[in-house]
Amino acid sequence: MKKLELIKIVITVLLCALLVVPIILSNHSWPTQARDYLFDNARSDTGATNTVSAIYLGYRAMDTLGETLVLLVSVTGTMAILVKLGKEHSDEEATSFSLAPEKRPTNRLRTHLLETVASKLGPIVLLFGFYVMLYGHISPGGGFQGGVIVASAIVFLALGTEVKSKLTNTLVLSRIEALSFLVLILASISGVFFESGFFGNPIKSASSLSANFIILLNIIIGLKVGTSIAVMCIAMMGGSHDH
């Protein structure tokens, strides 16, 4: 029985290798049409100098919406499982990174050093996160990357502060998340009532060459991603069942 299993696995891997490796090894030169088009037109079309942003939130913004949805659904699913696990095992032993205040003093690994550094570092990282978010259209970065940095800043703040502040309260965070999701959908629909259609830039005008729509999307996506990842991380570190 075990031998049969092994043979099956070997055959599977060999067959897949036979099909995939030629594609990976193919020597066809990489196409340049898209790059050349973007080189000439990306700036005038979208107003963004970062062409990756121009594609990510301009030409192919629909993919980005799908990606945000995947994130939303998987965070929702993970949180549902987490809440149930938390209910079953609420009397778990204190863990070294536990955020629940009543568990903290029992752990010796947790020193003042961590709390001090994390609480001082938090605001700076937060600032950096917003910078990455807001300058995504002209420099590397963007909403998603900035959002993840914001999330880590929020986790830093949660680790650092003794008293719960508003920013690390999961209830407030999930409200921000919900609102930014709503605004994202509304922003994408708003084009329907103008000429540009679904996911078109509603504030497009011939005279101004600004990346206003991309900046707007960057901010919303950043807030959405940042808060939802922060909520998930805080829940995983044991701070979920105290609101």
Partner: protein, 567 residues
């Protein structure tokens, strides 16, 4: 409001509904009002938009648009025609009753609705998209929502089923990406039309790379449809999910990717070589699925195996249509009958899952050897009119292809058109075995003399409304089957040519055939009660959904298709 905004409505309106629900949940205002508002925005308004679009699709209007109105090929192309109209209609026809049904289950309500609406949007987007990478994203959204919905039952079995499905299809999606890589590399584009344009003029090594990439994409998409070597994940996932989710997944979600794929397959030459393989795969799925269903003793697992068998019909007709070419009369009629059968099965299977699910809940057991007299149990739990039993009967008639239901027309029309190919024989055998399998399932409703214990009563209002809606669709569909068939054929014509075909087939002329099938099935059922037949059935090996088997099937499917295409 131009036509683009109208046909994209089934994507953004459900998203708006789910955003409203998310907000309501976060602010602790999740109430019936929010729920009803979401239902109106997310399901009823898209239905209205679809109705408004009917004149356009009847006039063979087919619109290609770039999301965001970019004047370039870099944007994401969406393609609206009769096919996307029908697919969205198919989804709405099942999802509206399912959503009503799910109101009867108050646990996890908010999360369920949020994810449900996102799934609606992803289904609409999958049926409209004409861009390879966007298809990947849509399939991922559809997949992630399915995993979460399956696991939302919070039973250990459903978590394992969800995990298996997740790992299998996530791996396949990585292969999909490799395929997209190969096609982008040799063609320099991601939209179907441009890919096909360049690919059809390739030769030598580049052609081999393109064909292999196409195989990876096709097989990874077919995985979601559970055709035979790829079907191992389905039974666990669909039998362990909550009833409403099972109905939706088994009814609609396994068919959407199949028909979404046709946009790509139609454009590339040499895809007709895939057709014959698909037809055989469909025939084999049909027989294998129903044989496994016959030996099953759990009600919902039997239904799930039967889904594998029924998707076999759809895939067989689909494969034959591609082989014949959609511009030919036979191809056009076959693809229409394939989609028509998809409708028949979607509605009947949703009704079966909902009614059998409710019945087994009342009985407290899913085991066909123990559960009896479900009607009495349902009555004891507060059902005044036996609507669940009646709608089960209607669904039974439809899936066994007995008149005057929708399924009678769908199945007979399909087997009539499939004549001449080997898989048609497999389909005929399946028709007989299907009746036997469902007669076996019906023992749940057989009266027995056992006393019925008093159970806590529940309200059946929402359940009844949803079951009645589905039953009505089956009966009305049976009465107006020929116009519907003609309507579907007309809608799908822009895919191939512009001539209007009519099969001229009337299933009532072949009532004798149905009678023979039924006699055979009854005979087999009587035979099946004997111990000898039971021993024989027990010898059919249980298909195990271990990972090595799943991936072995995947590799097998890849190899067969690649051999066909590269040869």
């Amino acid at each position: 409001m131009n036509i683009e905004s109208l046909f994209l409505a089934p994507i953004y309106l459900p998203l708006l509904a789910s955003a409203l629900l998310v907000t309501a949940k976060a602010f602790g205002q999740a109430s019936k009002v929010a729920e009803s508002l979401a239902f109106l925005i997310g399901l009823m308004l898209p239905a209205v938009c679809l109705a408004l679009l009917t004149p356009a699709v009847i006039a063979h209007q087919s619109v290609e648009t770039v999301i965001g109105a970019w004047e370039t090929n870099l944007g994401i192309h969406y393609h609206f025609d009769g096919l996307s109209w029908l697919l969205i209609a198919l989804h709405l026809a099942v999802s509206i009753p399912v959503f009503l049904y799910s109101k009867s289950n108050p646990s996890n309500r908010e999360t369920f609705s949020i994810i449900f609406f996102i799934q609606c949007a992803s289904v609409a987007a999958t049926s409209l998209t004409a861009d390879l990478f966007n298809l990947f994203v849509c399939l991922e959204v559809m997949g992630v929502t399915s995993y979460v919905l399956i696991a939302s039952n919070d039973e250990d079995g459903s978590v394992l089923a969800s995990f298996t499905y997740l790992l299998f299809s996530a791996t396949a999606m990585v292969f999909f990406l490799i395929g997209a890589f190969g096609l982008y590399r040799v063609t320099g584009s991601l939209s179907y039309a441009l890919i096909a344009e360049v690919k059809n003029s390739l030769s030598g090594n580049d052609l081999i790379v393109a064909q292999l990439s196409l195989v990876l994409i096709v097989v990874s998409t077919l995985l979601r449809c559970a055709v035979v070597p790829l079907s191992g994940w389905l039974v666990g996932a669909h039998s362990k999910a909550p009833h409403a989710v099972s109905a939706l997944l088994s009814g609609v979600l396994i068919k959407i990717p199949l028909f979404a794929l046709i946009r790509l397959l139609l454009l590339v030459t040499s895809s007709e070589r895939i057709g014959s393989i698909l037809a055989w795969a469909g025939g084999i799925s049909a027989v294998a699925g129903i044989l496994l269903a016959l030996r099953e003793v759990q009600a919902k697992r039997l239904l799930a195996y039967s889904s594998v068998s029924q998707i076999g019909y759809v895939v067989a007709a689909y494969g034959l249509a591609i082989e014949a070419g959609l511009e030919s009369e036979r191809g056009a009629l076959l693809i229409a009958s394939s989609l028509f059968y998809a409708f028949c099965h979607a509605i009947a299977k949703a009704l079966l899952f909902l009614s059998v699910g409710t019945a087994t809940d009342a009985l407290g057991t899913k085991d066909l050897r123990k559960g009896r007299s479900a009607a009495a149990y349902l009555k004891a739990s507060g059902e005044r009119v036996p609507i669940i039993t009646i709608s089960y009967g209607i669904a039974l008639f439809s899936i066994s292809a007995l008149p005057p239901t929708l399924g009678f027309w769908g199945k007979n029309m399909l087997t009539y058109l499939a004549k001449g190919h080997g898989s048609a024989y497999l389909l005929t055998i399946t028709a007989i075995l299907t009746i036997t399998a469902y007669l076996k399932l019906s023992v749940l409703f057989l009266p027995s003399k056992r006393p019925v214990p008093a159970v806590k009563t529940q309200s059946f209002g929402a359940i009844h409304v949803s079951l009645l809606l589905l039953s009505l669709m089956i009966l009305l569909g049976g009465v107006f089957a020929l116009p519907i068939q003609h309507f579907i054929t007309t809608l799908l014509l822009p895919l191939g040519s512009n001539e209007v075909y009519s099969s001229g087939y009337n299933a009532y002329h072949e009532l004798a055939k149905t009678f023979v099938t039924l006699t055979f099935a009854l005979f087999l059922t009587v035979l099946g009660c004997s111990t000898y037949a039971r021993n024989l059935l027990a010898k059919i090996p249980a298909s195990s959904a271990g990972f090595s088997n799943l991936f072995f099937g995947y590799a097998l499917a890849l190899t067969v298709l690649a051999f066909q295409l590269v040869r």
